[in-house]
Symmetry: C2
Subunit: 230 residues, 2 copies
Amino acid sequence: MDLKDRDADASRRIRTAAVLLFAQRGYAATSIRDLAREVGMTNAGIYHHVSSKEALLADLMRVAQQGLIDATERMLRGVRSPADRLALLISSLTASHALGPMTTRVMDGELRSLTPGSAVRDQIIALRDAYEDHWRLALADGVAEGVFRIADQRLTRLALMSMCTGTSEWYRPDGDSTLEQVCAEFVAIGLAAVRASAQVVATPDLSLLPDFPWEPPDVRNDPRPAEARR
Amino acid sequence: MDLKDRDADASRRIRTAAVLLFAQRGYAATSIRDLAREVGMTNAGIYHHVSSKEALLADLMRVAQQGLIDATERMLRGVRSPADRLALLISSLTASHALGPMTTRVMDGELRSLTPGSAVRDQIIALRDAYEDHWRLALADGVAEGVFRIADQRLTRLALMSMCTGTSEWYRPDGDSTLEQVCAEFVAIGLAAVRASAQVVATPDLSLLPDFPWEPPDVRNDPRPAEARR
DNA sequence: ACCCTCCTACCGAACGTTCGGTCGCTCTAA
DNA sequence: TTAGAGCGACCGAACGTTCGGTAGGAGGGT
């Protein structure tokens, strides 16, 4: 195999394994040696592809967060109605967490593992803020246009985002509900939460979802902790 | 001070500090020495009150989960209407996570840190199942009685529970919304999610909420990671 | 076709540090 | 006088990371 390809392949396998292990056990509970064993290398070999354990985590998180932002802006492009935008925000966040459960669990839950005050951490927080601004704007516009009736916009946003992100904890592609059913149900709940008077016409284009490049292939041998299997 | 009291006090301070550190940094990222420093002891001193680090975590989780179950059953006692029961489930789960954010974050998120197959882990999973059964039953009863219209009961339950448990990540007692407002809003969202036709008359008695005995006093100096401060 | 050199992916071994946990002593309150 | 809370010192193991070395493909000259 070409050396360039070999390097790219090793980097990809390391990141895929890292996403899997960080999501299952947590960053702090995963050692470089665990990671090396998973990709068939020694711990020293890992450091040819990664400058440090924390830089690896930061890289995974930054790419994932940026991918979510890009996908969201692709989906919202040209959509004006606040109800449509809210529906697309709910669908895309839910679908992203359903289809990339490992990546999104690391993205959502490992910020505390990055050194406080470090540049990468601040950058990722800024990305998160930029993403949430799309929600803030959609809700504020809906209220301003009189099509949403919301008591507390921050409260509503946090409730709906928790609902969507929670999907990564329980969704299974071979489970009882299809992704389309989940999205449709969550959109219905979200529109009820904002007392939307307008009808939703936008349909999410799932091909615009983020590509999480290191999401592990669905491990049939139960990649998820037992408590999430119900 | 009486020796018995001194022991009880040390045990309490250890558990309070453990809940705080486990919630902030995670179990794996917290060392016994971190814990000892927080309570003004050496690492060896800790082991006079705790048999092992994992047993300490299991103890915190078991007591928290049992407290939630007890409080839920106190609240639901004698309440027959499914709409009332759902409203009380939402209120109590939300309020528990708002008032005991550290305890509930450990309870919800550290199951993966317990040794797979261990007796304590299985016991805590069983407690969690027992708690969730109250939700399953309320939704199923509502559907059976014709007062709820739900496409997928499991889906609805998971969405609403995620919304409630997410509260521990952002709620602040000195924030913009009061606990009563949060509960009222979440109950409204929940009832809309099940297309409840019945009116809700039950009012949650907050004095029946679980007493999480080791929840740290609200640390004004920002006990929460920066990303949750918005 | 061949050799020679370079480069790079990776390994074996070790670094200093920190981990969870133990042991025996000291000190103190009852 | 005694029990036990807490401490100082320590254990073996594991941690993240580094370093010198090696195998083998890549590339150029002949």
